[in-house]
C-alpha cells in the first residue's frame, strides 16, 4: 500500500528540521554505551590470540586469577562453545580449542578496575600449536587447503537451512543468472575482460564498540550495547547463550555511528558470561585498535568481469565473478547467502548475464557489513569497465550509459523487474549539469552510476496523545546517527498538522511487548520506521477527528486534543515492506580531477551527486547523508585501506588508517531529483547508501580521462596512478604497487 497521502504536507516538509537529539548530543547529555555506570560494576578485558591460526594447547589463568581485583577469569573450556552471528552462528564468544584470526578472544577477565582487568588479561598464559594459516581466498579454495571450520553442522543458521557450497572453506555463495549467457556472448562484437580489487575498509565511526551487561534479580539479562538492530540481536543473543528470549532486554542508548558494522555484537557475549559468573554488571569499552579487528570490516574483493558489447556499445552479456575475503567467521553477514549485501542491482538493461559472488573463509579479520555492502566492490568494477569499453569503442562514456540505461521495462540479473527505473532521468539531469568548457591538460572528468534497493522490514511503534495536545512516540528503533527520531517526529507532526515541538520520542528497550523495530540498515528506517509512524499518525488523526469532527477546519489542535484525549489515546501501528518489490533509487556521481603525471597525485576539483531521492522528509539529514556518503566513498577511493599482512592489521589506528579530512573534500554539489515518489512516508525513498559506491569508479574514470591511466585496484593511491601512467607510456612493465 502506498504511503502517499493526498494531504501530503507540502510546505511542512520543506523547512529544515531541528534535529530532535541535537541538543542532547551537543551538550553531552546523550548517553552512549560507554557512559553507563552501574553500582558494583566490574570491567572486562580479554586475552586475544597473537597468532592467525592455531590449536589452543593450554590456557593457564592461575596467575591472573590471583591478581588484585580480579573477580572472574573465563576460558572457552569454562563456558563451552557458544557461537554467535547475524545469520550463521559460527563465531565463538570465547574460543574453545582453536583460534582463527589475530585478535580472537581466548579468555575473558572481570575485575574491579579496567586496569586490573587489563593486567590480568595480559597475565593469562596461552599455549598455541600453530596451524598453517590461509590469508587469501585463492589459497583457501585450493582443493587440499586445510578446512578452517571442521564442524559446520554444529552452527546455527538462523531462519532456514544453510545452502551447501562446493568447497568447505566457502562461507556462502550467490549465483544469479539471466538468459543464455554463452549464446549472448557469441553474438557480441567485442568482449572485454578485466580484473578489479578492493581492500578492507573500516567504518570509521566515532564510537568504538562498548557494552554493559547485567542480570537483575528476576534473571532478566540487560544489555546496553552498540547494536543497531535490537530485536535481531536479542534473538541471536538468546540462541547463543541459551537465555530464554523473554529474559533478554536490550536497553536504549545512542549509538555513535554505525555504517553497517554495528549490526554485529561481539563483546556483549563474553561480558554476559562474566556477569553471570560474578553476579555483577560488567562493562567493556573497546580501543580503536580492538574495534578495527572486531569483525565487521568491509570485505576485500577480487572481481573478474567479462562483458560483451555490440560495436555501437550495447551490452549483450555480462559474466562477473566476485570473490570476497570473508575472514575467519561469517558471523557478521546477515543475508542468507552469506555474501556481503543483497543481490546487487544494475541501472542498465542487460539481456543476459551471470553473477557469481563467493565469500571465503581465511585466517584474517572477519568481514561484515558496511554502507552499501557488496555494491562498493561490484560497482567499482562495473562502472570502471564501462569507461574502458567506452574509450575502446570511441563512444562518450555518458552516451554509452544512456544507450544501456534501463528504460520502462527491464529486469535485474535475478529477473526481478524494475519498477520506476530512474537511470534515464538521473542521466538527463546530469547532462544539463555537464560543464561545457573543455578541460585543461592534465585534467579529467569521470562519472559513475549506481542503483540500490530501498530496505524493507517490519516496524511497529505507538503514539500516545494526551489532553494537552502533546504526542509521545514510543519506539525501539536505535538512533545510530541517521536521525530516525527526527524522521518519526517530522512524519507525525506533518500528518497531524502540528508543530514538531509537540511530538517527543521515547525509546523503549527491546523486550517482549515493546514495539518491534527491524533496526537501522539497508537504508530502511525512513521507509519502514517512518512508515509505521505515518500509519500510527493516520490512525490517531482518525480518532481525533471522530471525537472532534470540527478539527482541523474549525477547531485547533489543542482544543481537539482536549476533547479527544481526555483520558489519553494510545495507538499502535506497524508497517512492513519487502526489499525487492519497491522502486529502487538511483544515484550518480561526477567528479573532476587533476593528475600530476610525475607523481601520480590526484587532486579533486569538483564533484556533483545527483540522486533520485523521492520526497524529502528531513532536508538537513538528507544533505548529511549525501555529503557523508560521498566522503565515505572518497575514503574508499583515495586514502583508506586496512592493511592486513599475514593476518595482522598493520595500520590499526586512525593515525595510519586515513579517513578523509575536511580539507580533502572537494566542493560538492548535491542535486536531488524529486517528483517520483517512493514507498516511504509521503513518497520518501532512501539516501543512506545511494552514492558511496559510485565515488571510487567516478574518480578512477576521471583519472583515466585526465591521463589515459587506468587503475584497477582501490585505493587509487598516487603510486598506483603513476605506475598506470607509466604503463601507458610504455615505461613500466611491472606493477610495483
Amino acid at each position: 500500500m502506498s504511503l502517499v497521502t493526498p494531504r501530503a504536507a507540502g510546505t511542512r516538509l520543506e523547512s529544515n528540521e531541528r534535529r530532535i537529539d541535537g541538543d542532547a548530543k551537543v551538550s553531552g547529555a546523550a548517553k552512549f554505551a560507554a557512559d553507563f555506570e552501574l553500582p558494583g560494576m566490574l570491567w572486562a578485558a580479554f586475552a586475544t590470540s597473537p597468532v592467525a591460526h592455531a590449536k589452543i594447547g593450554s590456557v593457564d589463568a592461575t596467575a591472573a586469577r590471583a591478581m588484585p581485583g580480579v573477580r572472574a577469569v573465563l576460558t572457552g573450556a569454562d563456558i563451552g562453545e557458544h557461537c554467535f552471528g547475524r545469520r550463521l552462528f559460527d563465531r565463538p564468544a570465547i574460543a574453545v580449542d582453536r583460534v582463527r584470526f589475530i585478535g580472537e578472544c581466548v579468555a575473558a577477565v572481570a575485575a574491579e578496575t579496567r586496569q586490573q582487568a587489563e593486567e590480568a588479561a595480559a597475565a593469562i598464559l596461552v599455549e598455541y600449536d600453530e596451524l598453517p594459516a590461509l590469508f587469501e581466498p585463492e589459497e583457501a579454495l585450493a582443493p587440499n587447503a586445510p578446512v578452517l571450520h571442521e564442524h559446520p553442522e554444529r552452527y546455527h543458521f538462523h531462519g532456514g537451512t544453510r545452502p551447501s557450497a562446493p568447497h568447505p572453506n566457502i562461507q556462502g555463495e550467490s549465483i544469479l543468472a539471466k538468459g543464455d549467457v554463452e549464446a549472448a556472448f557469441a553474438g557480441a562484437d567485442r568482449i572485454f575482460e578485466d580484473e578489479f580489487t578492493t581492500p578492507r575498509y573500516h567504518g570509521g565511526y566515532i564510537e568504538p564498540r562498548a557494552t554493559v551487561v547485567w542480570i537483575d534479580d528476576d534473571g532478566i539479562v540487560h544489555i546496553v550495547g552498540t547494536n543497531k538492530s535490537p530485536y535481531a540481536f536479542r534473538e541471536g543473543f538468546s540462541i547463543c547463550t541459551g537465555v530464554p528470549l523473554e529474559k533478554v532486554r536490550i536497553e536504549p542508548a545512542y549509538i555513535g555511528g554505525d555504517f553497517g558494522g554495528k549490526g554485529l555484537s561481539v563483546d556483549e557475549y563474553p561480558c554476559y558470561f562474566l556477569s553471570r559468573a560474578t553476579r555483577r554488571p560488567v562493562k567493556y569499552v573497546r580501543s580503536y585498535l580492538e574495534d578495527m579487528r572486531s569483525g565487521t570490516v568491509r570485505h576485500a574483493s577480487r572481481t573478474t568481469l567479462r562483458t560483451g558489447v555490440t560495436s555501437d556499445g550495447k551490452i549483450v552479456a555480462v559474466d562477473a565473478k566476485i570473490v570476497f575475503n570473508g575472514g575467519a567467521y561469517a558471523a557478521g553477514k546477515p543475508i542468507a547467502t552469506l555474501v556481503p549485501g543483497m543481490d546487487p542491482k544494475l541501472p542498465y538493461d542487460i539481456p543476459a548475464g551471470r553473477l557469481r559472488r563467493t565469500a571465503v573463509y581465511t585466517n584474517t579479520v572477519p568481514g561484515g557489513h558496511m554502507r552499501a555492502p557488496g555494491d562498493v566492490q561490484f560497482i567499482f568494477a562495473f562502472e570502471s569497465q564501462l569507461d574502458i569499453i567506452a574509450r575502446e569503442l570511441g563512444i562518450d562514456p555518458f552516451e554509452l550509459r544512456l544507450r544501456n540505461a534501463v528504460r520502462d521495462t527491464g529486469s535485474d540479473l535475478d529477473g526481478v523487474p524494475y519498477l520506476q527505473p530512474a537511470a534515464l532521468r538521473v542521466l538527463e539531469r546530469l547532462r544539463e549539469l555537464r560543464p561545457r568548457r573543455p578541460l585543461a591538460p592534465g585534467r579529467g572528468r569521470g562519472i559513475a552510476l549506481g542503483v540500490r534497493h530501498i530496505g524493507g522490514g517490519k516496524a511497529e511503534l505507538s503514539l500516545r496523545l494526551d489532553a494537552s495536545g502533546k504526542v509521545t512516540v514510543q519506539t525501539s528503533a536505535m538512533e545510530q546517527g541517521m536521525g530516525v527520531f527526527s524522521v518519526v517526529q517530522r512524519v507525525v507532526a506533518v500528518e497531524l498538522e502540528i508543530d514538531p515541538s509537540l511530538v517527543s520520542v521515547q525509546q523503549l528497550p527491546a523486550m517482549d511487548g515493546a514495539p518491534v523495530d527491524p533496526g537501522a540498515g539497508a537504508s530502511r528506517q525512513t521507509h519502514v520506521t517512518g512508515g509505521a509512524a505515518l500509519r500510527a499518525s493516520q490512525r490517531l488523526r482518525e480518532l481525533v477527528q471522530s471525537a472532534a469532527p470540527e478539527w482541523p477546519q474549525r477547531l485547533d489542535w489543542h482544543a481537539a486534543a482536549r476533547i479527544a484525549a481526555r483520558e489519553g489515546i494510545v495507538v499502535r501501528a506497524s508497517f512492513e515492506a519487502v526489499h525487492h518489490h519497491e522502486p529502487a533509487e538511483h544515484g550518480f556521481c561526477g567528479i573532476a580531477v587533476e593528475v600530476d603525471a610525475q607523481t601520480g597525485q590526484v587532486t579533486l576539483h569538483d564533484a556533483v551527486c545527483v540522486a533520485d531521492v523521492g520526497t524529502v522528509v528531513n532536508p538537513v539529514a538528507l544533505r548529511g547523508q549525501i555529503a557523508g556518503g560521498f566522503v565515505m566513498g572518497l575514503g574508499d577511493a583515495m586514502t583508506e585501506e586496512l592493511r592486513v599482512v599475514d593476518g595482522r592489521i598493520e595500520n590499526a589506528s586512525l593515525a595510519d588508517y586515513k579517513l578523509p579530512a575536511q580539507v580533502d573534500v572537494p566542493p560538492l554539489r548535491f542535486v536531488p531529483i524529486e517528483g517520483f515518489p517512493g514507498p516511504g512516508p509521503f513518497g520518501a525513498k532512501m539516501a543512506g547508501e545511494i552514492n558511496t559506491a559510485a565515488v571510487a569508479p567516478a574518480i578512477a574514470n576521471a583519472i583515466a580521462d585526465a591521463c589515459g591511466a587506468r587503475v584497477h585496484d582501490l585505493p587509487l593511491r598516487a603510486e598506483r596512478v603513476l605506475a598506470a601512467i607509466e604503463r601507458v607510456r610504455g615505461l613500466h612493465d611491472d606493477d610495483t604497487s
Binding site: 587489563e118 597525485q601 592493511r643 593515525a655 586515513k658 579530512a661 580539507v663 580533502d664 598516487a718 603510486e719
Partner: protein, 287 residues
C-alpha cells in the same frame, strides 16, 4: 594495555627537572606538549614510571635573537607560535612556513619544537628545514650546557644523541646569509592531514647567480631526517641550471633509504625524492 601507573612530576626549575632525570634514569621520560609521548604511552610503546613535565619551567617558551644574530627558540615554543611569529617570519620566512605544515592546527597548538626534535621522527616536518638551516640543539645536563648540530643529534630511528639526564632547552639557528632562499615541500598524495610521503627543505644562497651555499634536508626517507650532502655539493659553484638541478635531484635519490609503508613503497619514495628535490630547486631558482 592502555592504563598503567606512572608518577607525574612538574618541576619548577630546570635544575629540579635534571635531578629528577638523574635520579630516575631510564624509567623517566620528559613531557613537553605530549603530542608524541602520549600516543606512545597509550599504545604501550613507551611505559615510563616517571613523567617529568617541563611545563612550569620558566624561559623555555621564548623566541629571541641570539648574540650571534641567530634565532633562539625555547624548547616549549609550539609549532603554531613559530608559524605565527613575526620575528621568525623576518628571520627566515620559509622556517615559519615549514612549521605551518605540521599536522593540523590542533597539533600545532600543542606540540613543541623541543619535543619534536627529541622525538626524532624521520617523517616530521620541522627537522628537514632545521637541518637545512644548520640548527643546533642546546642541551642542559646537571652541571653544563652543550650544543649539538641537529645533523649529529639525529642518530637513528626515533633515536637521538641526547644523554640520559639531559634536556634540550633551546633550538639555535645560525643567521642565514643575507638573501638566502628556502622552500619546504611536503608531498601529501593521500590526505592533507597526514605525515609526508617524502618532504624536502632546501636553502640556497646565490651570489651573482652562482650558488655559494646549498642545503637539502629530507624527511620520511630513512631512519632519520637527513641531509643530501652529495647533492648539495653538486650545486655549489653552479648557476642552478636545469641540468645541474636534475643532476642534484638524481644524486639525492641515491642518498636515501626509505622504508615501504602505507604511504608508499621504498622505490616510489626514492623516485619522489628526485621529483621534489628538483621542484624545490626549480622554485628557488625562479624565486
Amino acid at each position: 594495555m592502555r592504563a598503567f601507573h606512572y608518577h607525574y612530576h612538574e618541576p619548577a626549575t630546570l635544575v629540579e627537572a635534571l635531578s629528577l632525570l638523574e635520579g630516575h634514569g631510564d624509567s623517566a621520560h620528559v613531557l613537553a606538549g605530549g603530542t608524541a609521548l602520549v600516543p606512545l604511552m597509550r599504545s604501550g610503546l613507551v611505559l615510563p614510571e616517571h613523567v617529568v613535565a617541563l611545563e612550569r619551567i620558566p624561559n623555555l617558551r621564548e623566541i629571541g635573537i641570539a648574540p650571534d644574530g641567530g634565532l633562539s627558540i625555547g624548547a616549549l615554543v609550539t609549532h603554531r607560535e613559530i608559524e605565527r611569529s613575526a620575528l621568525v617570519e623576518r628571520f627566515f620566512a620559509p622556517l615559519a612556513e615549514t612549521f605551518g605544515r605540521v599536522a593540523t592546527i590542533r597539533i600545532r597548538n600543542q606540540g613543541t619544537i623541543g619535543g619534536n626534535v627529541i622525538h626524532a621522527d624521520p617523517a616530521s616536518d620541522p627537522p628537514p628545514m632545521l637541518l637545512a638551516l644548520d640548527a643546533q640543539a642546546v642541551i642542559a645536563s646537571g652541571t653544563t650546557m652543550r650544543t649539538a648540530p641537529l645533523a649529529e643529534f639525529f642518530r637513528g630511528f626515533f633515536e637521538t644523541a641526547l644523554g640520559r639526564a639531559e634536556i634540550v632547552t633551546t633550538i639555535h639557528i645560525p643567521p642565514p646569509m643575507r638573501g638566502a632562499r628556502g622552500v619546504y615541500l611536503k608531498f601529501l598524495p593521500g590526505s592533507e592531514d597526514d605525515f609526508a610521503t617524502v618532504s624536502v627543505a632546501t636553502v640556497v644562497h646565490l651570489e651573482d647567480g652562482v650558488c655559494r651555499h646549498a642545503r637539502i634536508g629530507l624527511g620520511a626517507v630513512g631512519s632519520t631526517p637527513l641531509r643530501a650532502r652529495r647533492a648539495e655539493a653538486v650545486l655549489l659553484g653552479s648557476a642552478l641550471s636545469p641540468k645541474t638541478i636534475a643532476e642534484a635531484a638524481a644524486i639525492a635519490k641515491s642518498e636515501v633509504e626509505p622504508y615501504d609503508d602505507a604511504r608508499g613503497s621504498a622505490n616510489y619514495k626514492r623516485r619522489m625524492v628526485e621529483v621534489f628535490v628538483r621542484r624545490a630547486l626549480e622554485r628557488l631558482r625562479a624565486a
